[in-house]
């Protein structure tokens, strides 16, 4: 799922400086799971904003809402009536959710309250780690299900860089070397022969973000 972290409150306060009545919108999906933008975080941030503004003698009215999935138009549109009552929106959904609101409510300023960080998994309570960069052509079959694109700092396709030490990454000392994990996994699966293959360079400019805006069109689902 998408992982995010709340922006520093001072940065958020700067965005909101000209406004006295805002809507603070969270999201019930990914950012709820990573405790960055769910109902609880909406409530806490709203209180924080009210207190901070009260402290400088410039009260702010904060309406609170947490749609189930802000990135889906049907849920975003549920905010229509509330949005008409405010001067600006602070969204603590991911960057996708922010832009869904922007598309449907073009006349009102909408600000991000979180930094969208990565696509990752929960390691343990309070710890999340990147697992996918949505590169557009999954190679997990070749690498024992461990992704070198998201987990190797150099995105290497053909083995480790030589800088890893005791199974840890040269760049992020606390991170496991992706190629150590790939080796261990393939060994467990008795598939070390897969490492003999030279994996060709990725076609970044065709399959990935470098090709420009990506879009999926499913003719069978269009109405």
């Amino acid at each position: 799922m998408i992982k995010a972290e709340q922006k520093p409150i001072d940065e958020i306060l700067k965005y909101l400086n000209p406004y006295n009545k805002i809507l603070l919108s969270g999201c019930g999906a990914c950012v709820t799971v990573c405790h960055a933008g769910g109902e609880k975080e909406v409530e806490l941030l709203a209180s924080g904003l009210r207190m901070a503004r009260q402290k400088i003698g410039k009260k702010i009215e904060v309406l609170e809402v947490t749609p189930a999935r802000q990135c889906e138009p049907e849920f975003a549109l549920e905010l229509s009536e509330t949005i008409e009552k405010v001067e600006a929106v602070l969204s603590i959904s991911c960057g996708v959710g922010v832009q869904t609101l922007v598309r449907h409510f073009p006349k009102i300023p909408i600000f991000p309250g979180v930094n969208t960080s990565f696509l990752g998994e929960t390691i343990t309570h309070g710890v999340w780690e990147e697992r996918c960069q949505a590169c557009g052509n999954c190679i997990l079959e070749k690498t024992g299900g461990i992704c070198p694109i998201s987990r190797c700092a150099k995105q290497l396709l053909n083995g480790p860089c030589g800088g890893s030490s005791k199974g840890k990454c040269e760049i992020k000392k606390e991170a496991d070397c992706a190629w150590q994990l790939i080796y261990d996994r393939l060994k467990t699966l008795n598939q070390l022969y897969k490492l003999e293959e030279i994996i060709p360079a990725k076609r970044w400019g065709v399959e990935s973000r470098d090709s420009g805006l990506r879009r999926i069109v499913r003719e069978d689902l269009k109405v």
């Binding site: 700092a153 040269e170 760049i171 190629w179 080796y183």
Partner: protein
């Protein structure tokens, strides 16, 4: 005789690494080059090594070649995409540079421009394949080239890997040879016993291996290397020698000289990495009769 011809003849080659300046003043580098002229078989010029911004390998190699030196041009995947990498290889060829060392490259986050974006559009296997492709007269998209560049291609190996990492390294070496590598440079090695198992396992490849020897300048440097450089293991005996040394440069040369003699029967050359003690190299070579 070109570097490639020397390797093919089986000669034991001596390479010195000279770091380009951070800036465009080459006077010091030229001074070192004059000292090394006729004493080393090639000068290896790193490109943005350790992700530190410096003058590039291409211009330094071109300038040193014009002064009559055999040079090894370095190119890595860290800072250029596949268009730039191919273009740089063509640049090198057009400028008369034939020896190229193709590297994975260092991640910008370890260097002095740690806010930079890492590129790694290709990995080193992709870059080696690119050099092969260009030499066949095509670019990576299959377009014909006007003129075929010819290179003597080198790659890096970690020759002190142990356990399964050693198995991976040998697999990596085999893939690199398949992709057209003509010679290998190793990491810096300070203990011949760590190199022997590697040599035994790769002897059948019959591709020249050039061992790197970094001049050790102090006990502190040796301890730092032992702590932070993967695969490096400087024996206590060497650290003791450094500790007792009244003349550090003399003892450093004795250590390097001992290593050269020990490695000589096991490999096809050495790369001396002086990092500041470039002027010592002629004396060191005198000491070992090279």
């Amino acid at each position: 005789m070109s570097f490639k011809e020397q390797l093919e003849s089986g000669k034991f080659v001596v390479v010195a690494e000279l770091q380009p300046p951070k800036g465009n003043d080459l006077s010091e580098l030229y001074e070192y080059t004059e000292l090394l002229k006729g004493r080393v078989d090639a000068i290896n010029i790193p490109d943005l090594q350790n992700a530190i911004m410096r003058l590039g390998s291409l211009s330094v190699c071109t300038l040193l070649k014009a002064r009559g030196m055999e040079v090894i041009y370095n190119l890595s995947c860290s800072d250029r995409n596949r268009l730039a990498l191919q273009s740089e290889l063509l640049n090198a060829s057009a400028l008369g540079l034939k020896n190229v060392l193709l590297l994975q490259g260092d991640h910008p986050s370890i260097g002095d421009h740690f806010e930079a974006q890492a590129v790694f559009d290709l990995d080193v296997m992709g870059l080696l394949g690119t050099a092969k492709r260009l030499q066949e007269g095509y670019d990576l998209m299959g377009n014909d080239l006007q003129g075929k560049p010819q290179f003597c291609v080198g790659a890096q190996i970690n020759a002190t890997a142990k356990g399964h990492v050693l198995d991976l390294e040998i697999m990596d070496m085999e893939k690199k040879i398949r992709t057209g590598v003509d010679f290998f440079f190793t990491n810096s090695i300070y203990d011949v016993s760590l190199f022997e198992p590697f040599v035994k396992k790769v002897a059948h490849f019959k591709v020249p291996i050039i061992v790197a020897i970094t001049l050790l300048k102090s006990v502190g440097m040796a301890r730092y290397v032992n702590k932070h450089v993967e695969g490096a293991s400087i024996p206590d005996s060497i650290i003791d020698q450094l500790m007792k040394a009244s003349d550090k440069q003399k003892v450093s040369n004795e250590i390097a000289g001992g290593l050269i003699k020990a490695f000589k029967p096991l490999c096809q050359g050495v790369q001396l990495i002086p990092i500041g003690w470039e002027k010592q190299i002629p004396t060191l070579l005198d000491d070992v009769g090279l």
